[in-house]
């Protein structure tokens, strides 16, 4: 496929690996923030050809993984409510809550639909005025504009039977949280290219300066990821901490103004709990007052349950890059994609799922 295959060129990927080897004179630890990049890295073995001095650790950029368990429980309760159709991206269906998952609700007769776009949920609401249609809005800055545009459309069409259960989260506060953790060893970041396609990267400039960490906007194909790493290592070697754009074919400095505008209109920034990590200040989105009528948490009585994770699951450590999935004692034994203990084993962007799919268990500590 054009603009995909060229960036998977094995010769170019290997040449870039040699450049990284040449550039790195000291040990460095770099984090890829985005779960989509984690999957590409594990799938194509992009960490394995690196010189041993360069360590790549996986970050919290898996929106399915970090959706707090009480929101999963609310989605489950909503889906089980008579007259309600719950629409969701497919990844969310298997994520375990405290009282089962969405798949179990569907098996028990609940109306749970997998959609490709939030607009599909709006169309469903239009076609079925007798039903309440709720969309489980999960995702980072890449996805938030699509949800926002959907609710704007629903309002323009006067659809009183459309609602959102909002679980959107933001990347820069998560990077701040990684940097603030006492055990942090991350020295540079590959920023998520498709998040930046929406937001641009101005917001990362004060962050990079304040913490003295290079941030490189990076794409998703093997060549892109290697280029991002090379740029990051070169900055670290030179003692620089700037924001660099290695994904200029897709990302502009100020992002997409139309997408940013609709997010600004529909949502407001709030504190948000991240599954396995805890509350991160100003790290989530909620509907702004003007759109409160579309808030599923206001329209339906969804009791708040605060729940604990299974003690065995170390998802919080995995999501912050301090443990590899293969270091989890449950990995591949008590926790598998068929019977997941934690969300990172379910999501197509979860690090545990990536290792389970593409890599055999290795001894602890191998990076």
């Amino acid at each position: 496929m054009r603009y995909v295959d060229e960036y998977r060129d094995a010769v170019g990927v290997a040449a870039l690996a040699r450049e990284i080897d040449r550039a790195a004179t000291r040990p460095w630890t770099v984090m890829e923030v985005c779960g989509g990049q984690t999957h590409a890295i594990v799938r194509f073995g992009l960490d394995e050809l690196l010189p041993a001095r360069v360590t790549l650790v996986h970050g919290p950029g898996c929106p399915v993984c970090v959706t707090p368990v009480e929101l999963i429980d609310r989605a489950v309760a909503l889906a089980a409510t008579p007259g309600v159709t719950l629409c969701s991206f497919g990844d969310m269906l298997r994520v375990p809550g405290t009282r089962g998952n969405l798949l179990a609700v569907r098996a028990a007769g609940g109306d749970v639909r997998v959609v490709y776009s939030p607009l599909d949920a709006v169309r469903l609401a239009e076609r079925h005025p007798d039903r309440q249609v709720a969309f489980f809005a999960v995702g980072f800055e890449t996805t938030a504009p699509t949800t926002a545009a959907a609710v704007v459309q629903a309002r323009r069409r006067g659809l009183g039977n459309f609602a959102l259960l909002v679980a959107h989260v933001l990347v820069p506060p998560a990077i701040e949280a990684v940097l603030a953790a006492p055990a942090n060893r991350v020295q540079g970041f590959l920023a998520a290219g498709h998040v930046c396609a929406v937001t641009g990267y101005e917001e990362y400039e004060p962050l990079a300066a304040r913490h003295g960490v290079p941030v490189v906007v990076t794409g998703f194909e093997p060549v892109d990821i290697r280029r991002g790493m090379l740029a990051c290592v070169r900055q670290l070697e030179a003692g620089r901490a700037a924001v660099e754009n290695e994904y200029a074919r897709v990302v502009a400095r100020t992002g997409n103004p139309h997408a940013r505008a609709v997010v600004g209109e529909v949502f407001r920034v709030v504190d948000r709990r991240w599954r396995g990590i805890g509350t991160i200040p100003r790290s989530g989105l909620a509907l702004a007052d003007g759109y409160a009528a579309f808030d599923a948490e206001r329209r339906f009585p969804l009791a708040t349950v605060t729940a604990d994770e299974p003690a065995e699951c170390i998802a919080g450590l995995v999501l912050q890059g301090s443990r590899k999935p293969t270091e989890c004692p449950a990995f591949g034994t008590r926790c598998t994609p068929e019977h997941p203990l934690g969300a990172p084993m379910v999501s197509s962007e979860g690090a545990c799922a990536a290792y389970h799919r593409y890599r055999r268990p290795q001894p602890a500590g191998v990076s």
């Binding site: 950029g61 498709h194 060549v223």
Partner: protein, 87 residues
């Protein structure tokens, strides 16, 4: 979930910005996509699509620059099948 895929715009429809849509070809699979965020997209452009919305118009000059840089890393052009190995 943040994955977005490039595809080529085959045709556009709709006058109002929020209702503008395009038929986009993703390596043989054609889908209808909202152009609400990229109203300037035209037939023949490549757009990067996520959850049914085009997020950006792909900058083909920048794309070519990266590939030229890659070629200049001192390597001969990729041998036949070089890209297949990792697909």
């Amino acid at each position: 979930m943040c994955l977005a895929v490039p595809g080529k715009v085959l045709s556009c429809a709709g006058a109002d910005v929020l209702d503008r849509t395009a038929r986009v070809n993703f390596g043989g699979v054609v889908r209808e996509v909202s152009l609400a965020f990229v109203p300037e997209a035209a037939v023949g452009d490549y757009v990067v699509v996520h959850a049914g919305f085009a997020l950006t118009r792909l900058d083909e000059a920048e794309a070519a620059k990266v590939l030229a840089e890659l070629a200049a890393l001192g390597e001969p052009a990729a041998p036949e099948g070089g890209a297949d190995e990792v697909r």
